[in-house]
Symmetry: C2
Subunit: 354 residues, 2 copies
């Protein structure tokens, strides 16, 4: 394997000294980039993009060619695992992901099992291909949805504002939800380990919907399963630690507990005060975040001011990976992203993050 | 004025001794009740319901006739104030509230002014009529949307998942957003004071969207204006204190600051641990909440278990008003609401809330 030319991201995740604050953006390969839209048109559909290692490699590298980002992230979908379980993932135009066969009765839930990882070979092939194409430029991040977030889609059959089906199951038949989460946790562990084997140098668990849970329920139905995954992951590859990032959107209230999950870093949305978060987690973990993606709609001068404010809230010293608090909007002007990334590097060098 | 037969709700808000934990439910007069659906059909539209004091009185009292609730809440909409400003509130079928003339340029924003309260006389007439019809059964709550929440609808023109317009304005032209919020705060102050004059015995400010803001922005663009309203409210009527409840959905991280706004009680959504919240606010304010409305989809036994858990998390002593963490769903079974309300009264009497 080629040596990494820029390992700032990995060092920041492990709270080792860095020269500046590394930055990557959730959904950095995406519709806001004209070159992405061209690739997607050429590929056919979103799933066609994900399932072709050539296209997945092409779009993963696109944002790196435009912006001096410090990490690449596998181009894929968070719902590949339940798709491999046979639920039939599809994308209805303008409606987000859906499943043809959502879990709607006890028999379907009891029949659920960890899929054979060969069903997900196209993901591992994409990881190897991207890692190869990166040629050591920056580290490659692998990822998965969290067991609870996967369960939301598996039970609701698609997105939801209220999660009434999954919550009804949780309150009425917690045993059935625990069964789904147990299968999901084992599947995600195998899935992320296979990504690490294929070349992922860090992994992130996206818990997009854990924040919809009540206090107590989050701990029992989302965090506990992420903790099991973290405990089951290979934490070293090529003689280097493979850091794990846990990101629960809306999880700011539970930060200390997430930090105790065994992960190396906690992702934060924009509602959290970064300085306060740092005090709360102490030396346990690094922090990733937490710029409001909507602030990218503002003019570059306003973006730069927000970046400076956020870096100063974290303060000097390593342990911070700059990111958005959620995925970048498809309506973002790429020139504003240039302003953001340059501002992160510029201001953090001045702030002497070492 | 008739003396109150049941003032448990008001006493709990002021942390005075009570015999049991009082309960009311956000959106308790609503589509989950067949009698409400019949009234709405008879009235015509949702706005017709709000604008007729007879219908508003009828539907406000419906849940009280079914469940032993400890407070009534004015039946109205949170967007009456911007409607009176001339923005043209309407409801597109199945789409939520919209404005015909949203604020889309500097001229429209600069032209905004506090409406003459006579434009909202139908609301104050409804308050008087409901208060009269209640005849002292339970206290009547008046309410308004928060300045920021109103601004979201006024700028976006309707609901939004991302609030990209309002946030772009906030980051690029904070002066213009502050102007809107200043007008809104003055209008809401006058509006709530007129509700108090008409007979409201407590008031609640609904900050439905403040939780979408980044740390720092929430304090400057939402909380600061609610604080100004609280400072400008009449706090006594009929020789009794009129308590003010501030509810920011998703505001659990900022609880201490909300508690310092001058309000008597803070509303909580279900993500907050009620016991932890009580420790955080100490003796400053009462707490209202925070049952997950989705738990009402579960069977009565599960609902009762959740109620017991929540009451026990708060612990003994006054200062808790039981409520949901958000409005009740239209798909809720009314019999499950009976189970909830009875369980609150039953378990809290056993717990000796005094």
């Amino acid at each position: 394997m080629t040596a990494l030319k820029n390992d700032t991201f990995l060092r920041a995740l492990l709270r080792e000294p860095v020269e500046y604050t590394p930055v990557w953006l959730m959904r950095q390969a995406g519709r806001y980039l004209p070159e992405y839209r061209a690739s997607r048109k050429a590929a056919g559909s979103f799933l066609d993009l994900c399932k072709s290692k050539e296209f997945a490699t092409e779009v993963t590298l696109q944002p790196l060619d435009r912006f001096p980002l410090d990490a690449a992230i596998l181009f894929s979908d968070i719902l590949t695992v339940p798709d491999a379980m046979g639920l039939g993932l599809y994308f209805a135009e303008g409606e987000g992901p859906k499943f043809e066969r959502p879990l709607r009765d006890e028999a379907a839930i009891k029949a659920l099992s960890v899929p054979d990882m060969s069903e997900l070979q196209y993901v591992f092939d994409a990881v190897s291909s991207i890692r190869n194409a990166l040629d050591g430029r920056v580290p490659l991040i692998g990822f998965s949805g969290s067991p609870f977030t996967l369960a939301c889609y598996m039970i609701e059959g698609g997105g939801s504002d209220t999660f009434s089906r999954v919550k009804t199951l949780m309150y009425d038949r917690p045993d059935l939800l625990h069964h789904i989460l147990d299968v999901n946790a084992r599947a995600v562990t195998a899935y992320l380990n296979a990504q690490i084997d294929a070349g992922a140098q860090a992994v992130q668990i996206f818990d997009t919907w854990g924040g919809a849970l009540a206090f107590g329920k989050y701990q029992a139905f989302s965090l506990a399963y992420m903790q099991r995954i973290v405990a089951g992951l290979k934490r070293e590859a090529d003689g280097r630690r493979v850091p794990v990032i846990v990101f629960t959107k809306g999880g700011g209230l539970w930060l200390e507990q997430i930090a105790d999950s065994g992960c190396d870093a906690v992702g934060l949305d924009w509602t959290v005060d970064l300085g306060d978060a740092r005090r709360r987690v102490g030396n346990r973990v690094a922090l990733q975040g937490n710029f409001d993606p909507n602030a990218l709609f503002a003019q570059p001068a306003a973006i730069e001011a927000e970046v400076a404010r956020l870096l100063s809230a974290y303060g000097a010293g390593s342990g911070h990976v700059f990111n958005l608090g959620h995925g970048i909007s498809q309506f973002t002007n790429p020139e504003h992203v240039t302003a953001l990334v340059n501002a992160v590097h510029h201001f953090s060098r001045k702030q002497a993050v070492r």
